[in-house]
Amino acid sequence: MTTVAPDLEIPIEDIKAGKRVTEYHLMWWAFRRDPLAVLSLVILLGFILGAIFAPNLTPYPEQGRGDPNLLEKFSPPNQGHLLGTDYLGRDVLTRILYGGRSSLAIGFLVVIVAVLIGVPLGAISGYYGGWIDNLVMRITDIFLAFPPLLLAIALASALGASFTNTMIAISFTWWPWYTRLVRAQTLSLRERYFIEAARSIGVPSWKIITSHVLPNVMTPVMVQATMDLGGAILVGAAVSFIGLGVQPPLADWGQMVSIGRIYFIERPWYAGSAGLAIFLVTLAFNLLGDAVRDAADPHTRRVVDVGR
């Protein structure tokens, strides 16, 4: 297993020169060799940059912000409107670029908030054990007992339909997964010698958690976070499909499908393009997640390398 093919881009020179090669370098080398992963990354960057620079990319920025253009209602895809226009005559491609802002942002924000709540709780719960662990785990049990989509719907409608409230509602259903993941990792880390050594020379618990436990759980958390981005975008789209979330005239992919479905059988380009955007982004995140997982695991990483 440890034989390394000679043509590999393993940083042999760096190693010989005595430079430190970190785990993250190796992950990046393995990752780069996976064509699907690179393709996914390109697709995602396309959507993200498209969303950021939407006003500069489209000839119809005012329609992206919601101005109607009633003279061109429902024109099918053509030269001026590559993906056609919607029920108010707005350019669908423009709406998709603008809609990407909220749809992508919700995915990232949900995962970030879930990580920020879930990871510290999991580390504390796993490290201290005892009643703290029991309490935290029972709380995660309660949250995981709800069907996530329904809990998000109920919370979002209690808070009122808006982007921020949807984000908060979905994050609430998401954090327990990170708590469980990090707790399990911490439980096994706690028994390792380097933690015991730190404990025996009197390093305070908070310091052990922040500088020994957390850095060592970051890789699985990162893998999980990448995989979850797609899922979070899907749930966000579902919530706004139901009518909560970003409200018109602002664009959002889920909301576009929700409005466009009524016209879908006769004019599939409107709801279809928005749905396809959700699908492509989710697919890309899932493929990316798989690749990050493979790259993070030294076993699969080596198999990937020698196989080429």
Binding site: S157, A158, G275
Partner: protein
């Protein structure tokens, strides 16, 4: 005895979770909204309505008194009244739930019938074209928004091929001339029991597309789980022994190996079942299916807050019950879980 202990322990835990869930939904209903009384009576409340709701819900009393009253109502089956339909929510749910359950059951059946065999085969023939194909299906399946899938199925089978209906549970003619006698309100069962085969056929045809759309995610999940555990199990010595002794490959795969590989899949399918209950919300909108999903969505659009909270609670109780049943089943199928 160990098994009994385990089951009892799981049941106590389930009761604990049920109580906590009721507390959390209570908070969502009465504490999270900026004005719970106004949220409870619906859009554009009048001053009198708010005052009446405040009195009825006991919002002027301390929280624990409110919770006590809330639990009393729940246990006596009073989930409140819908703002939109002016019906008791419990009777609304009784009307709409069977439609959703029928859809979910058929979807799960499809998932089991397609997903498990595909998983077994792609695990057994790892690296073959079938394996690559199923991998593609399962990755696309977990990434596909169900509402897009539903729309695409409609476009293909209704618009292009003209084979299957666009939506609803039965066609108008059947609803008028061969109405289904409501017994369980699951049309397939009711029409079969009453011998109404015209309606049975019609209801089946109407079920195909929504059930297929709903089944995609569970199929993807079943393929993934079955495949990975099959690969593990097929490396075991008893499989080699079975092959050496000349047992047919079909029996080796589908009886000897699957028996050990099925436990994680069953677990995953249990999760998928629960997922489908909420996935059905989205599917029902697309296919105009008069189930709980349509009920909830209309509630969201009509700011019918009591309905949203009650349906969430009822579905969660379902969710907990299913998970409990699965755990108990697992204790019988795979005794290892009791120790773990």
């Amino acid at each position: 005895m160990q098994r009994l202990d385990y089951i009892l322990k799981r049941m106590v835990m389930a009761i604990f979770v049920l109580i906590s869930v009721s507390i959390l939904t209570f908070f969502i209903a009465r504490v999270v909204p900026s004005n719970p009384a106004a949220a409870w009576v619906g859009p554009h409340p009048t001053k009198e309505q708010i005052e009446k709701a405040t009195l009825e819900l006991g919002l002027d009393k301390p929280l624990y008194v409110q919770y006590q009253r809330y639990m009393q109502d729940l246990l006596s089956g009073d989930l409140g009244t819908s703002v939109r339909t002016h019906q008791p929510i419990l009777s609304d749910i009784k009307t709409f739930l069977p439609a959703t359950l029928e859809l979910v059951f058929v979807g799960m059946l499809i998932a089991v019938l397609i997903g498990i065999p595909l998983g077994v085969l792609s695990g057994a023939f790892k690296g073959s074209w079938l394996d690559h194909f199923t991998r593609l299906i399962s990755i696309a399946g977990v990434s596909m928004p169900v509402f897009l899938l539903g729309l695409l199925l409609q476009l293909l089978f209704f618009r292009q091929l003209g084979l299957l209906p666009l939506g609803a549970r039965v066609s108008t003619e059947v609803a008028l001339f061969h109405p289904v006698t409501p017994i369980t309100r699951m049309y397939l069962i009711d029409s079969a029991v009453t011998g109404n085969w015209t309606a049975f056929k019609d209801a089946s045809i109407h079920l195909i597309l929504p059930a297929l759309a709903l089944a995609t995610y569970p199929i993807a999940l079943a393929i993934r789980m079955t495949r990975s555990t099959m690969i593990e199990v097929l490396n075991e010595k008893y499989i080699m022994a079975a092959r050496i002794s000349g047992i047919r490959e079909r029996s080796v795969l589908f009886i000897l190996a699957l028996k050990n590989a099925i436990v994680p899949t069953l677990n995953a399918l249990g999760l998928a079942f629960v997922y489908s209950l909420t996935g059905a919300i989205l599917i029902e909108i697309i296919f105009s299916w008069p189930g709980l999903g349509t009920y909830v969505t209309n509630a969201v659009l009509g700011v019918d807050f009591p309905v949203i909270v009650s349906v969430t609670l009822i579905m969660t109780v379902f969710y907990i019950a299913i998970n409990l049943i699965l755990d108990i089943l697992q204790a019988f199928i795979d005794p290892r879980v009791i120790i773990g």
